[in-house]
C-alpha cells in the first residue's frame, strides 16, 4: 500500500477502516481484545460486588453514604456525549473530511479530559472528607480498583487520541491511518459501555443500598 497515495471523497472507500488487510486485521484483533477486556472488567465488577461494604469490623462507611448522584450524573453526561462526538468523528472519517474529523476528535478529548478531572476530584474528595483511602478496607480497594481501572482506560484513550491527532495533523487521511482512527473510536465506545455499568452497578445500586 502506498502511504502517499492521495484520495478524494469519491475515490475514498465506503469502509476505509477495513479496506486493507492490515486494517481488517486490526479491526478483528481489536474486537477480540475488547472481548478479553469484557472478561477483565467482569472480574473487577464481580470482585467489587463480593467486597461491597466489606471492611474491618466496625467499619462505618458504606456505599450509600459515600456516593453522590449529581456528580455521577454530570460525569455520565460528559462521557455519553463524548461517545456521540467520536461517532461524528467517524462519520467524517468515512466521508473523507479530515478537518471535521480532527475537530470532533478534539471535542471528544476535551469531554474525556473533563470526565477524568471530575473523577480525580471525586477520589480526592473521598480520601479527604471520609478518610476513604485505598488501604481503608476491602471495599475501598475494590471500589478504587474498579473505577480507577476504568479511569486509567480513559487516560490511555486520551493519550492515544492526542498522539494520533498530532501524528496525522499534516498528512490527512489515508488507508494506513483510517483503521487507527477507527480502532480508537471503538475503544472509546467500549469505555463508555463499561461506564454505563459502573454508574449502574456501583453508583446507582450503591445508593439504592
Amino acid at each position: 500500500m502506498d502511504i502517499n497515495k492521495q484520495y478524494s471523497a469519491q475515490t475514498w472507500p465506503d469502509h476505509p477502516e477495513t479496506a486493507t488487510l492490515e486494517g481488517k486485521n486490526k479491526f478483528v484483533g481489536f474486537w477480540l481484545f475488547l472481548g478479553g477486556e469484557t472478561v477483565l472488567f467482569a472480574t473487577l465488577f464481580a470482585t467489587y460486588l463480593a467486597l461491597k461494604d466489606k471492611g474491618p469490623s466496625g467499619m462505618e462507611i458504606t456505599a450509600s453514604q459515600l456516593f453522590e448522584l449529581p456528580l455521577v450524573f454530570i460525569m455520565t453526561m460528559l462521557l455519553l456525549t463524548s461517545s456521540l462526538t467520536s461517532v461524528y468523528a467517524m462519520f467524517h472519517m468515512r466521508s473523507y473530511n479530515f478537518r471535521a474529523m480532527q475537530a470532533w476528535m478534539a471535542v471528544t478529548v476535551l469531554l474525556g479530559a473533563a470526565f477524568l478531572g471530575f473523577e480525580i476530584y471525586e477520589f480526592n474528595h473521598y480520601v479527604h472528607e471520609f478518610g476513604f483511602t485505598y488501604g481503608h478496607s476491602a471495599f475501598s480497594s475494590a471500589f478504587y480498583t474498579l473505577v480507577g481501572t476504568h479511569g486509567l482506560h480513559v487516560a490511555i484513550g486520551l493519550g492515544w487520541f492526542i498522539l494520533l491527532m498530532i501524528r496525522n495533523a499534516k498528512r490527512g487521511l489515508n488507508l494506513y491511518n483510517a483503521s487507527k482512527f477507527y480502532t480508537i473510536s471503538l475503544y472509546w465506545h467500549f469505555i463508555d459501555v463499561v461506564w454505563v455499568f459502573i454508574f449502574t452497578v456501583v453508583y446507582l445500586m450503591g445508593v439504592v443500598g
Partner: protein, 110 residues
C-alpha cells in the same frame, strides 16, 4: 498478502447514494444518543425517587443492558456487515463475564 488496495472512483450517483446513506445513518446515531440520554435519565430518576430496591435494581440493570446494546450495534457499528466473527467472540466474552458475575454473587460466601 495482497497489500495493494483496489480503489475505484465512484460514479456521481454512487457517491451521492453513499453520502445519503451515511447522513441517514448519522441521523440515526443522533436519535440513538437521545435515547441513551433518556434511558440514563430514567435510571437516575428511578434511584433518586427512592422506589423499592426490588423494583429499581432490575430496572436499572435492564436499562444498562439496553444502552450497551445501543452502543454496540449503533455506535460501534456491530450491525454492519463483516462483524459476525468479532461479535461472536464479544458475546463469548460476555457469556464468560456473566458466569463470573453469577459466581461471585452466589458462592463466594460470607
Amino acid at each position: 498478502m495482497a497489500h495493494e488496495v483496489e480503489t475505484r472512483k465512484k460514479t456521481q450517483a454512487e457517491f451521492e447514494y453513499a453520502k445519503r446513506k451515511r447522513e441517514e445513518e448519522m441521523r440515526g446515531q443522533v436519535a440513538t444518543f437521545a435515547l441513551m440520554i433518556f434511558l440514563t435519565l430514567v435510571a437516575f430518576t428511578a434511584v433518586a425517587a427512592d422506589f423499592s430496591a426490588y423494583y429499581v435494581v432490575p430496572t436499572i440493570l435492564l436499562l444498562a443492558a439496553v444502552q450497551v446494546g445501543l452502543q454496540l450495534y449503533y455506535f460501534m457499528h456491530a450491525k454492519e456487515k463483516g462483524h459476525g466473527t468479532p461479535i461472536f467472540f464479544f458475546y463469548g466474552g460476555l457469556l464468560i463475564a456473566f458466569t463470573i458475575l453469577i459466581t461471585f454473587v452466589t458462592i463466594i460466601w460470607i
